[in-house]
């Protein structure tokens, strides 16, 4: 049944309006980062202005930016890799074996996913002080792996379940060792889940701010913490903070554009079958 033209037109109009609303604040971040100080404090509806990279230059040259970028990349990448490896193993174990305490493990994992990070920050600060993990990037990695594991395990659990055991057994009979069964049979079928899990984990580790603020110092700061330092009691250095915000926003934006389908799979997994 063909829909009348006016229905199609209003459908696209609504989609365009919604897309505009979603994108506008993000555009504001990038546009402000390209403005000169006089334009930032000038007329906000003046969309034609002389763009400048001055804010980026200032951010990149001062304040040990390369250090913070390296910290953020380290924390983001290492957390993601470790979470995926441990999450894969745990999901496989939960899906393939029946053992006493399986449900207890599964449910407590699910509950841990909902702990507010503000609640976690206080005892973690104390424990990390005792374990000498404060101001260490590994301390941050350990924390990000722990808070991302529940979601990763549950997402991948669903994917392992979809792979028939018979497929693994057939590969084993054909002479594949356990590692080859995993890499040749399981891994390709779990690829969309792994993509979603890695993006979600990286997003948290890269964007997270409160725990990083509490647990890092001048040497181990990540980019969001460094950005927050532009917000002071006397005001906000808008040009620079938006330049920093844009740089922080770029990797997640890229991931979203190349893997939107996997992200949506991850978002809806568990609630919507399919």
């Amino acid at each position: 049944m063909k829909r009348p033209w006016w229905l199609v037109a209003s459908h696209y109009t609504m989609l365009l309006v919604l897309a505009f609303l979603c994108v506008a604040p993000i555009v504001v971040i990038f546009a402000t980062s390209l403005r000169q100080q006089v334009d930032i404090f000038g007329e906000p509806l003046n969309f034609i202005f002389m763009p400048t990279l001055e804010n980026y230059r200032a951010v990149l040259q001062e304040d040990k930016f390369d250090r913070y970028l390296a910290n953020s990349l380290f924390v983001g990448i290492v957390s993601t890799v470790v979470t995926l490896v441990l999450g894969c193993m745990a999901a496989y174990g939960l899906a393939r074996f029946r053992f006493p305490g399986r449900h207890a493990v599964a449910y407590s994992t699910l509950l841990l996913r909902t702990v507010p990070l503000a609640v976690l920050a206080i005892p973690v600060f104390l424990i990390w002080s005792e374990w000498k993990l404060v101001n260490s990037l590994w301390g941050l990695v350990l924390l990000y792996v722990a808070v991302n594991l529940p979601f990763t395990i549950w997402l991948l659990y669903g994917f392992v379940l979809q792979v028939p055991v018979e497929l693994e057994e057939a590969a084993a009979i054909d002479g594949c060792g356990p590692l080859r069964v995993f890499t040749k049979v399981l891994l390709p079928l779990m690829a969309p889940g792994l993509a979603a899990a890695s993006i979600f984990t990286f997003r948290i580790a890269w964007n997270e701010f409160i725990l990083a603020l509490v647990l890092t110092d001048r040497q181990t700061r990540t980019l969001p913490v460094a950005a927050s330092l532009f917000i002071t009691d006397i005001g906000v250095d808008w040009g620079r903070v938006m330049a920093m915000g844009s740089l922080i926003a770029i990797p997640p934006l890229i991931f979203t554009f190349i893997a939107a389908r996997q992200i949506i799979t991850g978002l809806t997994a568990g609630a919507v079958k399919g």
Binding site: I26, M242, G270, G274
Partner: protein, 292 residues
């Protein structure tokens, strides 16, 4: 073939160990810390056992209760706005059209970028002097507002930021759920003479009620965990008009340096979230129907 006991332990052990050390143990320690008076930067051995003093000082503080009230109001307003908007938009736009994949990509952007960047963007747009929102108000002949300096308007600002960020989530969940409905059911209802509102409220929505319930619980839990956007946007101000519980806990611990008291308030927030999580688990048990 029976697998030996230690095999599952091998697969699950590392993940359990990490979650236990860096998530479960800290949460349990929060309960312990709530009974002590400990100053930051001193060894734990110098902490003093104070019994229920921290709980007494936490719960006799009217700011804690007003903060709880703010949190409840924030969660209620945000989540109901997001659910109503998300469901309504999904119903209006459920028909598959060309280019939807691209639009969906744009819709998930607000969830993907850093909360600190979200907070900054809205703080700049809500700025009284050079913010975009006041400029737009003036352009259509309305009065400019001092958004972030007025208690009610500041509360509206944090609600707007949250609704902006998370309505797309509800929308995408609902689009996926509606796409899963068997078209012949709707067709049958239509042939039986059901009007569009009957098709919607008596057939479609009941069929996706399960997804609505799970989405609602996920949004509610997350609404109580919000912290970073509000930290950047208002830092709880003006006064304590936008000081949600998570932010109050953070400030008590790391600004006021009262870690024990903050841990005691944490117990309150944990209780709220645990209750909601239990409800979510009841609604959506991923192991439902599996043999033990």
């Amino acid at each position: 073939m029976r697998t030996p006991r230690w095999v599952p332990a091998l697969y699950l052990g590392p993940a359990i160990l990490v979650m236990a050390a860096a998530c479960l143990y800290p949460v349990l320690s929060a309960f312990q810390l709530a009974g002590y008076d400990w100053s930051m930067g001193t060894p734990w051995s110098s902490a003093r056992w104070v019994g229920v003093d921290n709980f007494v000082s936490a719960f006799s503080n009217p700011r804690v209760w007003s903060s709880l009230l703010t949190t409840l109001l924030f969660a209620a307003v945000c989540v109901s706005a997001e659910m109503v908007l998300g469901i309504a938009l999904a119903l209006a736009l459920e028909h598959p059209v060309r280019g939807m994949a691209f639009f969906r990509t744009l819709f998930i952007l607000p969830m993907m970028i850093a909360p600190i960047a979200v907070g900054l963007a809205w703080r700049y747009m809500f700025d009284a002097q050079f913010g975009l929102i006041n400029a737009l108000l003036k352009a259509v002949g309305l009065n400019a507002q001092i958004w972030l300096a007025d208690p009610q308007l500041a509360f509206a600002a944090i609600v707007v930021a949250d609704v902006w960020q998370w309505t797309p989530f509800v929308f995408i969940m609902m689009i996926a759920a509606l796409a899963g409905i068997d078209g012949s059911v709707i067709e049958a209802a239509r042939i039986d003479g059901a009007r569009w509102w009957q098709q919607t409220f008596l057939v479609k929505l009941p069929m996706v009620m399960h997804v609505i319930a799970i989405t609602l619980m996920m949004r509610l839990i997350d609404a109580f965990r919000v912290l970073e956007v509000v930290y950047v946007l208002t830092f709880g101000g003006p006064g304590d008009s936008t000081e949600i519980l998570a932010l109050h806990i953070y400030k008590t611990a790391f600004v006021g340096q009262q870690l024990g008291v903050a841990a005691a308030i944490s117990v309150l927030l944990l209780a709220v979230v645990a209750l909601l999580s239990w409800g979510a688990l009841k609604l959506s048990n991923p192991m439902k129907g599996e043999p033990r």
